[in-house]
């Protein structure tokens, strides 16, 4: 659907030239003011992060510091145990991305191509779960992770210990699969021509072979979309790590950042430096992969 939209828009482009428009100058002024307001907080963050304290607490607003102070970055890096926090976050995010792409494409293939009993029921059960935000399920999911069998001192029935609470596995667990991903892949495979697969099956290719040799190599756009969303959700996740992780050595970047503040009082420069470090990987990835975001844009409100 999204692909259709974008080709349509480019076809309309030539049309638009003659179309009624708001006076161009007013449009630019409005959009420019809006854009400035939107990015001003980020500019202020970067500006603060490279200022010495004397300029931060001065009486005048200085967007460009007179004196560059990169000490804030090294301070923030050391005070938060940044290498450890980054390693945790990269690990958790990488697992989430890989797992959501793989499981999403597998389930998407099944729902798009195979016929079997109970398919409609399972499909609609999954569809319904899309309506349930994670925030309202936090209690049972927390109890489930806590009762994970044979982990954290638990017996086989999941009693006696703390399960996956306070482990990176516990942080990862709810992010292994997303319903959104299953639907994304299903929609993509439905629009993929069937003839190639049929020809392969006639030539003796198995169904798993069709999935692995034909669909997977042709799924790059949808994998890009899924990977970008999975990355954003996992990297930016806050509530779940907050609930699961207690130990400093297991913190992810958002969690590390959120407590950094309480520990340091109002060390704004270090705080902004740490924020820059948390947001830069996301912005870089977004700029490179933003063409993939459009296709998921319409359903992005239905995360989970």
């Amino acid at each position: 659907m999204a692909a259709g939209l974008s080709t349509q828009s480019s076809r309309h482009e030539t049309f638009t030239m003659r179309e009624a428009r708001l006076p161009l100058l007013l449009t630019y002024i409005f959009l420019a003011i809006g854009a400035v307001v939107m990015i001003m907080p980020f500019v202020w963050m970067v500006s603060t992060s490279v200022k010495p304290d004397r300029e931060i607490f001065g009486d005048t607003i200085r967007w460009i510091p007179q004196e560059l102070d990169l000490q804030n970055y090294t301070d923030a890096f050391e005070q938060t145990n940044m290498p450890r926090i980054f390693a945790n976050t990269v690990l958790v995010t990488a697992v989430a991305v890989a797992s959501q792409v793989l499981l999403g494409s597998m389930a998407g293939y099944v729902f798009a191509r195979l016929r079997f009993r109970g398919k409609t029921v399972i499909f609609f059960a999954l569809l319904t779960t899309m309506m349930v935000p994670f925030e309202v399920l936090i209690i049972p999911v927390f109890l489930l992770i806590r009762a994970f069998p044979l982990a954290g001192g638990n017996n086989i029935l999941g009693q006696g210990g703390t399960g996956l609470i306070n482990t990176l596995g516990g942080v990862m667990f709810p992010n292994f699969v997303s319903v959104f991903g299953v639907f994304l892949f299903r929609q993509f495979y439905l629009s993929f021509p069937k003839e190639i697969e049929e020809a392969a099956i006639v030539d003796g290719c198995s169904r798993i072979g069709v999935y692995w040799r034909i669909l997977i190599p042709n799924s790059k756009p949808v994998m890009g979309t899924m990977a970008l969303f999975a990355f954003l959700w996992s990297w930016n996740d806050f509530l779940w790590p907050l609930v699961v992780v207690k130990e400093d050595s297991l913190k992810t970047i958002q969690l590390g950042l959120s407590v950094f503040d309480q520990e340091q009082g109002t060390a704004w420069a270090e705080l902004m430096a740490a924020s820059v470090m948390a947001v830069v990987p996301v912005i870089i990835l977004y700029i490179f992969l933003q063409r993939f975001l459009v296709s998921g844009g319409l359903t992005s409100g239905l995360k989970g």
């Binding site: 999204a2 349509q8 828009s9 309309h12 482009e13 638009t16 003659r18 009624a20 449009t27 630019y28 409005f30 959009l31 809006g34 939107m38 990015i39 907080p41 202020w44 963050m45 603060t48 931060i56 607490f57 499981l103 597998m106 389930a107 099944v110 195979l114 009993r117 399972i122 999954l126 779960t129 309506m131 349930v132 935000p133 925030e135 309202v136 399920l137 936090i138 209690i139 999911v141 667990f173 003796g204 198995s206 169904r207 798993i208 954003l232 990297w235 930016n236 806050f238 509530l239 704004w268 705080l271 902004m272 996301v282 912005i283 700029i287 933003q290 975001l293 844009g297 319409l298 992005s300």
Partner: protein
């Protein structure tokens, strides 16, 4: 399918080739479906379906983690609807919605409309407007906390240049909620704009062209043609935006912790407080059941609207 057909005469004449049999079973649609769905469906059942019912069960119990849940009747629910703090959290959630959604939606629509023209730098501007969506709630909250800072914050500095005295944005009972609303609108314009841009591209150009020929100016065109045609999309944005406000935990945790005087205490914060603050799992479950019901009704509306739109 065709493989099975071709090979069936073979199995009639020759003795059954068991290796081929196994291959046929393992290559059947049902087996591959089972194999591929086992893990994703098991995980989703455990994380998305079972919790809904267990949450409902917990809401009728008294459970404080170290003893097994005890049946508690409707006491949690009567608490939810009579306790003044919980009631205020419901009220605050609605107030938050009313303050953020109309303005946020209107701004996103106007920006989308302006960006839908073929103007120079369109892609660049769209990227800028989307940046707050990509940034995490924690980072956004940190930045705004610094902007709102009473002593050296940017906002008080800027207001000072036009003679407005400094305000204690996040700690003033009259300003705290509106301060959160501002951050929320700033953080959501990008995602709502993307939905509007998709909707705008579905409007046939001939209609707008015809109105222009008939003498409608740009403003009339926008208000009398674009807005009515976009009604389903607008409703969809309003509903998803509202749901995102119900779910908005990080901002409250980072900026106000529900204060001052419970003025920013919303339902999601109240759940978190009851469960992870006071270990009242049953009570927290009851509040989340109420929340889920509201969210479900809103989502049903948005699904229906989206379906109607695709059908049209």
């Amino acid at each position: 399918m065709s493989v099975a057909l071709k090979r069936s005469p073979l199995t009639d004449s020759a003795p059954v080739d068991w290796r081929q049999r196994i291959y046929q079973v393992m290559n059947s649609q049902a087996f591959v479906a089972l194999l591929f769905l086992l893990l994703p469906v098991a995980l989703l059942a455990a994380l998305k379906i079972w919790p809904v019912f267990y949450n409902l069960y917990l809401s009728f119990t008294r459970y404080e983690l170290f003893e097994p849940p005890r049946f508690y009747g409707l006491k949690n629910y009567s608490y939810v609807f009579t306790n003044s703090t919980v009631r205020q959290s419901i009220f605050n959630t609605l107030l938050f919605t009313i303050e953020a959604v109309p303005i946020g939606t209107a701004l996103a629509l106007v920006i989308a409309k302006l960006l839908n023209q073929s103007i120079r730098g369109r892609v660049f501007l769209r990227t800028l407007y989307y940046l707050p969506v990509v940034s995490s709630v924690v980072v956004s909250a940190m930045i705004w906390r610094w902007i709102y800072s009473p002593q050296h914050g940017l906002l008080n500095h800027l207001l000072g240049t036009v003679g407005i005295p400094p305000q204690n944005w996040l700690n003033d009972p009259n300003l705290a909620l509106i301060s959160l609303v501002i951050v929320t609108i700033w953080g959501s314009i990008g995602s709502n704009m993307v939905i509007f841009l998709a909707g705008l591209q579905d409007i046939p150009r001939d209609i707008i062209e015809a109105a222009r020929v008939d003498g409608a100016n740009a403003l009339q065109n926008f208000l009398l043609i674009t807005v009515p045609l976009l009604r389903p999309v607008i409703l969809f944005v309003v509903v998803t935006f509202t749901i995102s406000i119900f779910r908005n935990f990080g901002l409250i945790f980072m900026l106000t912790q529900g204060g001052p005087f419970n003025r920013t205490n919303t339902m999601v914060w109240e759940v978190y407080q009851n469960v992870f603050g006071y270990l009242r799992f049953g009570r927290g479950a009851a509040i989340s059941v109420v929340m889920l019901l509201i969210v479900l009704v809103l989502t049903m509306i948005s699904f229906r609207v989206l379906r109607d739109r695709q059908g049209a």
